[in-house]
């Protein structure tokens, strides 16, 4: 059972797990999804990319920021069947730029450096189901040179 005591102006309540089992009846105000002041995630309500999203770290602001923005914008708006397949050029120049700053953009192909364990919900089995062998087939369209 919970009990409560008062120490001067401070009130202290001790509660057991059972005490807190019933759902709360505290009322919270519904959030306005279009609140212009609210921090949004990576994608804004209007579908644009929020380059200032903290989740991007320094990607959009570093020396290769412009290349990154171009590549990711292209990917984001790509309507191709295989999303982003029309953006090879952008990704290439991004990679070229990033290679010039190995300190900032360590070139690692494996997921060793990814935040470990509980950081990701899904296991990091980032093996594409569209396997590498099939990719040449799907991308062998006259892409931009």
């Amino acid at each position: 059972m919970s009990y409560c005591k008062q120490e001067g102006k401070d009130r202290i309540i001790f509660v057991t797990k059972e005490d807190h089992e019933a759902p709360s009846n505290a009322e919270l105000i519904e959030d306005d999804p279009n609140d212009p002041y609210e921090d949004h995630g990576l994608i804004l309500p209007n579908g644009d990319i929020n380059w200032n999203c903290p989740c991007l770290g320094g990607m959009a602001s570093g020396p290769c920021g412009q290349q990154f923005k171009d590549a990711f914008s292209c990917f984001h708006y790509s309507k191709e069947e295989v999303k982003g397949s029309d953006c090879v050029e952008n990704f290439r120049s991004m990679q070229e730029c990033m290679q010039k700053y190995p300190e900032l953009y360590p070139q690692e192909d494996d997921n060793d450096s990814a935040p470990s364990g509980g950081a990701d919900n899904a296991p990091s089995d980032s093996v594409p189901t569209s396997s590498p062998e099939s990719t040449p087939a799907t991308t062998e369209n006259p892409a931009a040179s």
């Binding site: 009990y3 102006k9 401070d10 009130r11 309540i13 001790f14 509660v15 057991t16 797990k17 807190h20 019933a22 709360s24 009846n25 505290a26 009322e27 002041y37 921090d39 990576l42 994608i43 380059w51 903290p54 989740c55 770290g57 320094g58 990607m59 959009a60 602001s61 570093g62 020396p63 920021g65 990711f72 990917f75 295989v82 982003g84 397949s85 953006c87 090879v88 990704f91 290439r92 700053y101 900032l104 360590p106 690692e108 192909d109 450096s113 990814a114 935040p115 470990s116 364990g117 509980g118 950081a119 990701d120 919900n121 990091s124 980032s126 594409p128 189901t129 590498p132 990719t135 040449p136």
Partner: protein
Amino acid sequence: MLNFNGYKLSWSVLGWLFPLSLKFIHFSCLYKPHCPLFSRPYILFNSMFFSFLSVVVLCDCCNANAAVSEPAPAAEPVESTAAHSDVPEHAPYLLIGGGTASFAAARSIRARDPGARVLIVTEESELPYMRPPLSKELWFSDDPKATETLSFKQWNGKERSIYFQPPSFYVSPTDLAKVENGGVAVLTGRKVVHMDVRENKVKLSDGAEISYEKCLIATGGVPRNLQVIDRAGEEVMKRTTLFRKIEDFRSLEKISREVKSITIIGGGFLGSELACALGRRCKSKHSVIQMFPEKGNMGKVLPEYLSNWTTEKVRKEGVNIIMDAVVKNVSYKNDKLEIKLKDGRLIETDHVVAAVGLEPSVELAKSAGLEVDSDFGGYRVNAELQARSNIWVAGDAACFYDIKLGRRRVEHHDHAVVSGRLAGENMTGASKPYWHQSMFWSDLGPDVGYEAIGIVDSSLPTVGVFAKATAKDTPKAATEQSGTGIRSESETEAVAVTLKAETTAPPPPVQQKEDYGKGVVFYLRDNVVVGIVLWNVFNRMPIARKIIKDGEQHADLNEVAKLFNIHED
């Protein structure tokens, strides 16, 4: 390598293009579980894209690049040249001060204004770095070179540097005007001494002038000193540390290895963290004393019962705590410092650390004609952090109007990040008020950790809702792997646990010794929750933020407390 339309592309490039599925990414960063973004899942990119990004991207709560697989090379203090030759004549975005707020603003400006040219001018000889590890992680590092490299292990085992970015991130000041896509340049070892608001230009300590279009003042502050120490003469000053910067950390670290006793004056965040850090390090060899006028550690922040509980924990870290201590006099005698308290007690020590607050740096107010706040100190700015047209202020030096909580000045790391980012947004035309409430945290050893948000002032009436703590509810347990090293359980702790087990029977809890293991404390002003402390309860900051944002009067705070699920991990 694969040939594709004549281009040789590595698998990794192609890998980016072929999405798998979106996945929820929990961003965990340097200070998990304290990362304010941690609980906010981001549907990021497709997983393949992210697998590349995961190498370099991390959350901004600490402006960190966590995935540096080896310790970043120590950024050497950049030589400050005497000549004006490296000072650009004009900077579209001029940021005065090179700390956390300034860096956050630089990043925000660059994200929003493509090709922006940003110039940071700092008095320090260092590139922008984060302060919290200076009184925490860097002391716990096993690496003997930590003081030199300023690298430390994060919660997830990865090394990172306290510098936000390595030197290669920045453009040199001389190249800033020319570099194709703009960038961020840092002019070190230079102080802005005069600001001409009409002509939109500043003058540096070496006489050089820089004109600007938009300017941010993020000058932070300097540690306060006790008057009695200031007046006590050179021998005492030589043995006193005012702790804020990298050089202070290095100096204190060296001293801690050389002297027998260190006394920390001040019972707030910095004082208590340093006391714990030094206490842990020096337990067997030295004596660490902490003294303050309040009745307990964090006496101005936590309600008395929690402050007392915290004080006990700090004691367990090996600190000799002296409460109700008002320093009357400090003198140098027989190669020792003698501290005399108002009540007559005498304490002998080798070295003093004064952690008695921060004086915001507002020297430019006069020449710039900017208002200084008489209640909170700092430059007075509006809800959008603006002082005047084209001038914004962020970080420790900003006394701003918080739409929800009123006018305030906040001296915390996350606030520097949040306000810096907001200032950067507003400098690029956003016109947003201070809306996203910043948070702060403290870990005093592996048993006491809390996160807090809003106005957390112990003079306000509070309502605390606590659960029985289990062994799982500590910062060390809340993290995947503590970078601080697992503290082995002492015998006394093991005994205490057994005793509790016996008494935890149906009889009312009143009979047990109160154990504020975990819970949530609400701080009220006119019956509205204006501040919340999450006591050994992690990853719930978004709920706390929401409650403060709502600003509602809740009839039963126990019901509000239910929203936090304090009994669960």
